[in-house]
């Protein structure tokens, strides 16, 4: 009975905010991948991924976000990450992806910047 990935959502004027929670590793990233595909395919102008409730992410989670970023670009959607916890920020730094993603410090900033 493995716990599935919890994702809270909020519609905003120009798109969506997703707030996954838990640890995004090989066990959880397939669910995130499917969900992000659906969200990008709905063609929002902006997709904010609030990572404040994600305490851990490995490279399978990062790969999922890179895929979503590339899909977003093709779809003309602006994908913004926000509120990365230090451990999660560190895997983006190690992977040299911290300058590839648009990363905001707060949800408000990510919604409105």
């Amino acid at each position: 009975m493995p716990p599935s990935l919890q994702i809270q959502t909020e519609s905003i004027a120009n798109g969506m905010v997703l707030r996954p929670s838990g640890e995004i590793d090989l066990a959880r990233s397939p669910e995130l991948r499917l969900r992000l595909r659906e969200e990008v395919d709905a063609l929002p102008r902006r997709l904010v991924i609030d990572l404040s409730a994600v305490g851990y992410m490995d490279s399978s989670g990062v790969a999922t976000l890179v895929e979503a970023l590339q899909r977003s670009k093709t779809a003309g959607c602006r994908l913004i990450l926000c509120c990365l916890q230090p451990k999660v920020r560190s895997i983006f730094a190690i992977s040299r992806l911290d300058t590839v993603f648009e990363i905001a410090l707060s949800v408000d900033d990510a919604k409105t910047r």
């Binding site: 490995d58 490279s59 790969a63 895929e67």
Partner: protein
């Protein structure tokens, strides 16, 4: 097996990763690593196991994996990972160019930039044996902001 050492055996089911990480984290703490370095060790071990699951076993969930945690002579951690999956030429396990942004291909880079010594060996019959060592005295490798 020295006295302060642990061996974990589990199948290649990703659901097992979280419990294994918790054990690795606590073991690294007991050996004396601070929180930042424990975070790196846990991540790198997760990447190595994820590789066994995905590449060694082609994402089959029933392949046996063994992880051994031991204290290095002189302080630090020595981690051995064994699977019975598909083998890979250790010479091909070099990190890719990170400036080419694409999904995947980060695991080897993370493992190599975390541990001071990394060794991949093809086992006698089938499967890989990975040995990862980090002395307590070594500093985290430099992480330049951009690939050269």
């Amino acid at each position: 097996m020295t006295e302060s050492a642990l061996e974990l055996r589990f199948l290649s089911h990703a659901e097992n990763l979280a419990s294994v990480r918790a054990c690795v984290d606590r073991f690294a703490a007991s050996v004396g690593f601070d929180e930042e370095r424990r975070g790196r060790i846990v991540l790198a071990v997760d990447e190595a196991i994820t590789n066994s699951i995905r590449h060694g076993y082609g994402s089959r969930t029933d392949g046996p994996i063994t992880l051994r945690l031991a204290e290095l002579d002189g302080g630090g951690v020595r981690i051995e990972l064994e699977d019975e999956g598909k083998q890979v030429d250790p010479g091909n396990l070099t990190p890719r160019d990170l400036s080419d942004v694409r999904p995947g291909g980060l695991g080897i880079h993370i493992i190599r930039s975390t541990f001071q010594n990394c060794r991949w060996v093809r086992k006698q019959d089938t499967g890989m044996a990975v040995t990862l060592e980090l002395p307590l005295t070594s500093s985290l490798k430099d992480l330049p902001r951009r690939a050269p």
